[in-house]
Amino acid sequence: MKHSRLPQIITILVLVFFYLPIIVLVINSFNASRFGGTWEGFSLKWYDRLFHQRDIWFALRNTLVIAVGATVVSAVLGTTAAFALHRFSTRLQRAHYTLIYTPLVVPDILMGMSLLLFFVASGIKLGLFTIFLAHTTFCISYVAMVVLARLQDFDFSVIEAAQDLGAGWWTTTTRVLLPLLAPGIAAGALLAFTLSIDDFVISFFVAGPGSTTLPIRIYSMIKHGSPPLINALSTILLVVTFTAVAISQRLTKEKT
């Protein structure tokens, strides 16, 4: 049996390609050199300087406020949407499904631009609230997809058992279905949270004065600021997202 080694070699090279820039960035965040071309010794000075930037803390606060709001609302709407899609197979649900998945493929810039035009045309003042509305809009689709995938391998005989024992619709939903689906909903919510924290393009279009989010701040630092500070900030963000991924992996595993 002769197997080509090519797929394996490509896989290894792609993984190196994926991680190389990230590793260089993390190393450079501890580099005393300003341009990062050469190693001038280990230093935490960029982290120290970062912690003294007040506007970054302000941007972080905005980001978290938006992310929490968008996560809560999209978790509720995405879950109800998934229930509807799973339970009924009517014409309405076919339209509903199209409505849920199209935002997943539309480029960010079109979503940002269309929402900007919508807010300007309807006279809604741009700011934190418009960013919250925009984020909730794209998060609903992701939550719905994750929860729907969970529902597809959900054992519905548990529900029937509850109903046979005399539980009503409300009791079955709140006491049986939701607790069992909690890990799936939590995984969807976590995805929504990270997507909201990470979004730049859509936020940039619908942001107003005073509603700078962390990605918007990072963008202006990339454009005009000092690279080592971004290295340090990026490293912190990497640690945070890696932790989030680890937690969500745990949640995913619990069910299986």
Partner: protein, 293 residues
Amino acid sequence: MKVNRKRKLHEWFITLPSFSWLTVLFVIPTLIIFVITFKPSDPYGGIGDGWTLNTLISLGNPNYPAIIWRTLWLSVVTTLVSILLAVPMGYFMARVSAKWQQLLLLLVVVPFWTSFLVRIFAWKVLLHPEGPLKQLLVLLSLATPDTSLLYNSGAILLVLVYTYLPFAILPIYAAAEKFDFRLIEAARDLGAHQLRAFFSIFLPGIRRGLLTAILVVFIPALGSYVIPDIVGGPHSEMIGNKIAQRTFVDRNLPHASGLSAFLTLAVLAPLAAVLMLQKKKGPAGGPLIEEDA
């Protein structure tokens, strides 16, 4: 009859929240793009009253064909390169043991969970004239000190592939994982060459995954804006840059709207094509995008 009505009511009760939210904040805004294309701009950066064809006429701007052409070829090449890398990788991932599959999947997903801006910035640092890659290339005399690795179409292409490759790997892996590899063995036993088995058995077998992969790389690539903005230069703009420039620099919303309308149509074309192809084969109403958790 009564049960039926109750069922209908229940359906509406859980459909209405998401349905109305997305209608107001997704469908209507998308339609507005087309309406505002025919509106005049006002001097304060807003939208004026009345109707005009000015935007449509100014889309004939001689600079646009070059930008549209560049956007198109960059997106096509990005898709091709991503597929060429993702197919062997998906194949390999589907053939290793379950434990390795889990690990490889995680390794593919993690960079795609890290901040989008951070990843682009990491490449800017790497490709920077003072950066490590340039120094290495000069040292190996593969580049002269004044070659620029940044601010050109090549840099955009590299970062586009870097950003969208995971999106191609996931659906291809998902399809390959369901593929019955005994079919390849059977073909080989019947005397088919390794490559022949790969092209006429494996590739058709993962067709659905391939189509999804093409879609989820090509469409976002067409609309990319941040990547050409950060690693591209003034001579390598894409449509996304123009939309942003009209919005934030010129403050001409109707013009930005016209360009967005054009991009929307450009995005809908491949989407409709793939949906048609998917409808012909495979289970109707199956998910277009297979989410992997």
